[in-house]
């Protein structure tokens, strides 16, 4: 029994234990804190599985945007929490949930216990074309070239989610600024953090985006880091939350998906189909798309956490 095996088994048990505890947690706040810890353990587990791309995403999203989003939700639900805690789901719901859980577990157990041999894998096929793309990180190649359409749709879903959040605003606040009321004193420690951290964070975010071509990293992880830095500045009150009717804001939100779509349609006329890149421009095109996507992802994630408009539009 090696140290690595002990670590892996312990990590797996810990992940399951924390998951069970989150479900059973008494208050929403405790569950959210548990969930943030759960994300960190998952990042470790992905790193152990040599899926560092996923570990990086989990670290950037879980300890940044999702943590803040859930924390805000738990705080807002607190006044009504004791009321909803008394409501128990009926017997029928219990049975359906149990049956589904057993089915999923059985399916997973079957996959693990009776593996197909040789295991089906597209990895060799993906690796063989990497030199043509001039992208050495296979995950980036899959996201930006082989399955670019999935990535494109993902970003459009993010935009739709933001529109969904905005649509929760009452009519009189439409076009105004999201909530996220800054609560810090101008000479407080939060202001210090918001002044010191973003310059470093922006460098790290751009580094993570850039290194995505050869090593784990990319637009989503970089964008998530930039979003967290922007939120920090807004929470500390150093810069105001932008009003959602602003032209520049809307432009930043759509520029990523729009450029991606434009390149996609250009593929019909230049090479041979939707989202196929001309051979000699593959690398520059992927870089351009990734850079604008990072901008849009950062803006969308930041505004998703900021929530629906809660202030009247300034005239």
């Amino acid at each position: 029994m090696t140290a690595a095996m002990v670590l892996d088994v312990g990590l797996a048990l810990l992940v399951v234990a924390v998951a069970v505890w989150i479900v059973a947690a008494g208050s929403a706040f405790a569950a959210v804190v548990g969930f943030v810890s759960f994300g960190l353990l998952l990042a470790l587990a992905w790193a152990r599985l040599a899926a560092v791309d996923v570990a990086l995403t989990e670290a950037a999203i879980g300890s940044g945007v999702t943590g803040a989003l859930l924390m805000t939700a738990a705080s807002r639900l607190r006044p009504t929490e004791s009321r909803s805690a008394g409501e128990r789901p009926g017997a029928f719901l219990h049975v359906v949930a149990a049956v589904l859980a057993v089915l999923v577990s059985a399916g997973l157990a079957a996959l693990v216990l009776i593996p197909a041999s040789p295991a089906p894998s597209l990895a060799p096929a993906a690796a063989v074309h990497l030199p043509e793309l001039d992208v050495l990180n296979p995950v980036t190649a899959v996201l930006m070239a082989y399955r670019a359409v999935d990535t494109l749709l993902e970003k459009i879903v993010l935009l739709l989610a933001l529109i969904g959040v905005w649509s929760l605003a009452p009519d009189r606040f439409w076009g105004g600024a999201p909530g996220l009321w800054p609560r810090s004193r101008p000479d407080g420690e939060l202001t210090l953090l918001a002044r010191l951290l973003p310059p470093i964070g922006i460098v790290v975010g751009i580094y993570i985006l850039w290194v995505g071509a050869i090593a784990p990293g990319g637009a989503f992880q970089g964008g998530a880091i930039l979003a967290a830095m922007w939120l920090l500045i807004m929470i500390a009150g150093l810069r105001p939350v932008p009003e959602i009717h602003r032209q520049w804001l809307r432009l930043v939100l759509v520029v990523g998906p729009a450029v991606f779509l434009t390149v996609g349609f250009a593929g019909f006329f230049l090479p041979n189909g939707f989202l196929s890149y001309p051979a000699q421009f593959t690398k520059p095109l992927i870089i351009v798309i990734e850079v604008v996507l990072t901008l849009s992802i950062a803006a969308i994630l930041g505004l998703l956490v900021a929530g629906p408009p809660e202030r009247e539009r300034q005239r």
């Binding site: 090696t2 140290a3 690595a4 002990v6 670590l7 312990g10 990590l11 810990l14 924390v18 505890w21 706040f29 405790a30 804190v33 548990g34 943030v36 810890s37 960190l40 353990l41 990042a43 470790l44 790193a47 152990r48 040599a50 560092v52 570990a55 990086l56 670290a59 950037a60 300890s63 940044g64 943590g67 803040a68 924390m71 805000t72 705080s75 807002r76 607190r78 006044p79 996220l180 009321w181 800054p182 609560r183 810090s184 939060l190 953090l193 951290l197 470093i200 964070g201 790290v204 993570i208 290194v211 090593a215 784990p216 990293g217 992880q221 880091i225 967290a228 939120l231 920090l232 929470i235």
Partner: protein
């Protein structure tokens, strides 16, 4: 060397995981935040140790991301706390 680094990562992780009992027991939300914070630091240490011990250099980037965002959830916690207190007071008064 690799074996020692992996064992150290396991030890640090086991230690901070024990601290998770604080999330369970509380009693206050601040105590829960502390346990999450300790797990965060321990997770960063474990990732760095694993990056060196198992030769996964990119894990250092994941640790860098975690360290960069280490204060972020606590900031969200503090930023939300006063607002709910006011809301609760309104709810009990009204």
């Amino acid at each position: 060397m690799a074996e020692f680094l992996i064992a150290a990562a396991g030890f640090v992780l086991a230690m901070v995981a024990l601290g998770l009992a604080r999330i369970l027991r509380g009693p206050g939300d601040a105590d829960r935040m502390m346990a999450a914070q300790l797990l965060g630091t321990g997770g960063i240490a474990a990732l760095l140790l694993l990056a060196a011990g198992t030769d996964v250099p990119a894990a250092v980037d994941a640790a860098l991301t975690l360290a960069l965002l280490a204060a972020f959830v606590a900031v969200a916690f503090v930023n939300n706390a006063p607002r709910t207190d006011a809301a609760e007071r309104r709810a009990t008064d009204g």
